[in-house]
Amino acid sequence: MNSKRKQRLLIVLGLVSGFGIAVGLVMFALSQNINLFFTPTQIAKGEAPSAQMIRVGGMVADGTVDRDPQSLKVAFDVTDFDHNVRVTYEGILPDLFREGQGVVVQGRIRSGQFVASEVLAKHDENYMPPEVTEALRQSGKLDQMMGGQK
Amino acid sequence: MIFEPIDIEISKLSCERDDRLLFKNLSMTLNPGQILRVAGPNGAGKTTLLRTIAGLFDIQTGTIRMNQLPLKECLEQILYIGHKPQVTKDLTVLDNLKFLTGSDDDHLKRALSDVGLKGYHDSLVKELSQGQGRRCALARLWCVKAPIWILDEPYTALDVEMVKTLDTRITWHSAAGGICLFTTHQPPQSLKYTTLELDHVT
């Protein structure tokens, strides 16, 4: 019947336009930075909005961790080996937090400093026996390896 | 009004429900003007057969065609009234029928007076008695243009007078070339029909 075919056509049209609109909306959303995730380089270039909650990922730079002996305050640099961002944080750090460790910090930029409200230690997907780590460290390859993968 | 000629062709229809074979290799053709009573003991599969022909159950094996077309494409030619009330309690008689039939008010009021519900069009269905509710559901027979009627136990809860009225309506429908299938446990007196006996298939 003719009306049946027309109905079917309308349904297909509806489905196609529905998906079309959805794809359009998703494309629009993805063209914006939804993640609000920045690298230290981006922050150094001033690309990150200030006073907004953002996330920064990188490595804890060696020899930059300052702990306040009286309180839980801690400050450290997060680096992507190009630029550093100074992060201050007050609270209990995760067990895996150490120098040379990958971290994601969440917080806001206040007067040039990053005030973190949360510090997440990223445990990487590498499993290694200690001897291997030691060998790598001695040859200086470890940092390269760790830096190489974000 | 005379219907376009329509026929239903059922071939090799079988149905199994809850591991029980209800009917097997059922084949028949329903011609314009035919009135068929499906009879059989409780649980013989009368309702199942009716609902299958109405397209409410999937066909397990076999085919049903209407005017050579598959059943699924001709559902709007069917008027089905089942066990359930078919009307919503919280709506008025008129609103219920308006939704199901799409007819205008005058037409519907005439149909209501035909089934003895004159003046009840503004009452909510929940205010009616059971028999009156049934009459309300059956009022659709007076205002719908579908050529195929499938009525599951249409006579339940009806008084003698209404039974007679319904018989007359079905006779007219058949005279106009329509097809009517129904089930009942009280064989109607004033209706000419053929009977299909469903027995337990063992």
Binding site: Q7, G14, L15, G18, A29, Q32 | L91, K98
Partner: protein, 224 residues
């Protein structure tokens, strides 16, 4: 009168006849919101911080509460099976029913959230964000919970099960909505997230009615 108008008029009249169905979820929402400050200390800073999220969750629950029986009465009256004879694709009719449900049951719920917001001293701009997320996200929520309701139609002890079954599917919606609220509190750009939410609702509105119609057919085929 076209079938579509008939359908919507019927829904309207049904809702006029059963006003309780509309007010029950609203009452629930207000009750939850008034219990919250009693359970917490009435610290208005804390309240305004978590208030919008609480209202969102409470609205979600209230919505589930009234979608649970979306098709139940039509199904047991046998009106639902009459839809198959109406010369329209079942999915289209289901879509109309869902639209009507959204208009008559969900929209009123959204409209009273500002009252809840004032009770929890939610800041005005966050309140706006809350309203917008609810308007954009509820079509998807309605569709999914409608599917839950349709899947459990034939089960004698369905109750809240249909809704529970659908709960996991709400996760992306809740996360996105929460993201919008957090950003609104920061005063940052909420548009991209709203676009994602919108995409979700559009996809749900196109696909879910088809799944619902399959579920309804299934239950009509099984009821005996």
């Amino acid at each position: 009168m076209s079938l579509e108008r008939r359908m919507l008029t019927r829904e309207l009249k049904l809702n006029v006849a059963r006003p309780g169905e509309i007010f029950k979820p609203m009452w629930f929402l207000i009750l939850v919101v008034s219990m919250l400050p009693l359970a917490l200390a009435p610290d208005s800073d804390l309240l305004s911080e978590i208030g919008s999220a609480m209202i969102w969750v409470a609205t979600l629950l209230a919505l589930l509460l009234n979608t649970e029986h979306l098709f139940q009465s039509d199904f047991s009256d046998g009106v639902l099976e009459q839809w198959l004879f109406l010369n329209r694709p079942l999915a289209w009719l289901v879509g109309l029913k869902l639209i009507a449900h959204w208009l008559f049951h969900v929209l009123p719920l959204i409209l009273i959230t500002p009252i809840a917001g004032i009770m929890l001293s939610v800041p005005t701009d966050v309140l706006w964000a809350l309203l917008v997320t609810l308007v954009i996200a509820t079509p998807a929520l309605t569709c999914f919970s409608g599917l839950g309701a349709a899947l459990t139609l034939g089960s004698s002890r369905s109750g809240i099960l249909g809704v529970l079954v659908m709960m996991p599917l709400f996760v992306p919606i809740v996360i996105l909505a929460a993201g919008v609220l957090i950003r609104a509190m920061d005063g940052s750009d909420t548009l991209p997230l709203l676009a994602l939410l919108g995409a979700f609702s559009v996809v749900a509105a196109t696909v879910v009615p088809i799944a619902v119609s399959a579920a309804i057919r299934l239950n009509i085929g099984g009821s005996n």
